[in-house]
């Protein structure tokens, strides 16, 4: 799972060319991963202004607007890619300009399988 992080400042600080380059880098990576049959799923997330945070307190669900106030950066999108190992995933993450502007986290997905011990 490649988790792309961003914040308002980092996005607004980009020039038009940088934004264009960002879009193109995503398009070319997505196309390559699709052709290779490695892309399981990917999505960009809408602006955090549209976020709702849900908490269940005393068995009652309460909803508040916005993400955690103290979070400096937000999750901007993700790729779920089937890789042979973490190094391959890191290679894909490094190709995203987001890694340069903010950060891309690479995390293995827990799977339901396990070897006999």
């Amino acid at each position: 799972m490649l988790l792309i992080y961003s914040n308002a400042e980092s996005w607004e600080g980009l020039s038009a060319e940088q934004r264009e380059g960002l879009v193109q880098a995503h398009e070319s990576l997505a196309q390559e991963l699709t052709e290779q049959g490695l892309l399981v799923s990917a999505a960009g997330l809408a602006d955090p202004i549209t976020t709702r945070t849900v908490r269940v307190v005393d068995e009652t669900a309460t909803t508040t607007d916005g993400p955690y106030a103290e979070a400096k950066e937000h999750l901007a999108g993700f790729y779920l890619v089937e890789c042979d190992d973490i190094d391959q995933a890191i290679g894909y993450a490094a190709r995203l300009p987001d890694a340069e502007y903010m950060a891309v986290e690479v995390r293995p997905v827990m799977d339901m399988s396990g070897l006999e011990m």
Partner: protein
């Protein structure tokens, strides 16, 4: 799997190899075979199975392939592509005469093609299951828990890669054959493992994968009866799969070998696997699959866990380490030494492995186990917790967590 499905699966590689040998065009032929299988699946249940099922499939597949080649060449002409394709008139859409009964080796040729070195392991697996196993893209996708579109892309890319590599349908030269055989066995081993280690959540699909891997290795064994590693791999699969019913609890949790109810093991599979590996060890060239099968046989033939002949297992791991450089082998060796000699000796074997960067959470899990045996419970608990955090497998995490909880 129904008998009917089994019949189709057995025919799939024969039909595909007949078409590829006659027409070439592996990628299109594969597509045509899938459509012929689909037609059979729709028509035979209603109209009955034809007298010569293979002839029927080859006839339908040929017709479909001719159509595909026609539209392909038309498309290419439109695109003014320089690639030369024979005109469709040159193809004789025939039936039985291209069904060469001497095509037994064809399945092997097909396996060699699917395990072409130009392909990634994931592609080799997908293509093998589809072209040789006759599974549909949907079935393969479900077994590997990826969207069908993802798997379809993977398979079509693999077919294109084979085409680009210029592989024609023929046995690889003698010099390459052994290496390619190794790739074939490895792919079948990976298919088996994928099925065996998958959880109860997808047990239906995963049981199908292990059965498929065993079926394919049996097929290879028919063609290479004197190859000890083929026998060894089949034995290893049988001896491992024999424990299936005992290795997960009712809640889906993993049950380690030492705690399994051995009465649930599949005796017939154990007997067959042990006979296979004994025969291979006594008359063929030694190899890692045979040694791993021998280790599995020692476990499977112990009446109780505490009756396991650990000294013999240690000796077999010594042999295996001469043959392969694999971190998992070294870890298991340490466990065996711990059981045969004592936990301190096992920990000593583990010591130099910590600097091996191919190690994963299992090193910590083994260390925890040996520390627990040695009576250092606080250190064991720390190690279990660390291993639990490092694993990416849900059942393993639960297992390691519960081991730690028990020592709290």
């Amino acid at each position: 799997m129904t008998n009917f499905e089994l019949l189709l699966r057995e025919q799939a590689p024969q039909v595909l190899s007949a078409l590829v040998r006659h027409y070439g065009h592996f990628d299109l032929a594969e597509e045509a075979v899938q459509e012929a299988l689909l037609a059979a699946a729709q028509q035979w249940p209603e109209e009955g199975v034809p007298d010569n099922p293979r002839g029927w499939l080859i006839r339908v597949g040929s017709r479909r392939l001719t159509d595909l080649l026609r539209s392909e060449s038309a498309r290419r002409r439109r695109e003014e592509n320089a690639a030369q394709l024979a005109a469709p008139e040159e193809f004789v859409a025939s039936g039985p005469e291209i069904d060469d009964p001497g095509g037994r080796d064809d399945t092997l040729t097909l396996l060699f093609l699917c395990c072409h070195p130009a392909l990634s392991a994931a592609s080799q697996i997908a293509l093998t299951l589809r072209a040789v196993g006759g599974l549909s893209t949907a079935q393969i996708a479900a077994a590997f828990l990826v969207p069908e579109s993802t798997m379809a892309q993977r398979i079509s890319r693999a077919k294109r890669s084979i085409k680009q590599a210029g592989s024609t349908f023929e046995m690889p030269p003698e010099a390459e054959r052994d290496e390619r055989m190794g790739a074939v066995l490895h792919v079948l081993y990976l298919i088996f493992n994928e099925g065996y280690t998958a959880s109860s959540g997808t047990s239906l699909h995963s049981a199908e994968l292990t059965a498929e891997a065993i079926r394919l290795v049996r097929g290879v064994r028919k063609l290479r009866p004197d190859d000890g590693e083929v026998a060894g791999l089949l034995a290893l699969m049988l001896l491992t799969d024999a424990r299936r019913a005992a290795r997960t609890g009712t809640d889906g949790a993993l049950i380690p070998l030492a705690e399994q109810d051995r009465s649930k093991w599949d005796r017939a599979a154990v007997v067959e696997g042990e006979a296979l590996v004994s025969d291979a060890l006594s008359r063929t060239q030694l190899g890692p699959y045979q040694v791993q099968a021998a280790i599995a046989a020692v476990h499977d033939t112990a009446e109780r866990a505490d009756a396991t002949d650990w000294r013999q297992i240690v000796a077999l791991y010594d042999v295996l380490e001469q043959l392969v450089d694999n971190p998992m082998v070294k870890l298991n060796h340490a466990v065996a030494v711990g059981m045969a000699v004592g936990p301190q000796e096992g920990l000593a074997v583990l010591e130099p492995l910590a600097s091996d960067d191919r190690m994963n959470h299992r090193l910590e899990a083994v260390r925890a186990h040996l520390l627990e045996m040695s009576g250092d419970l606080a250190a064991a608990r720390e190690s279990y917790l660390l291993a639990a955090r490092r694993t990416t497998s849900v059942p393993e995490r639960h297992y390691l967590q519960s081991k730690a909880d028990r020592l709290a």
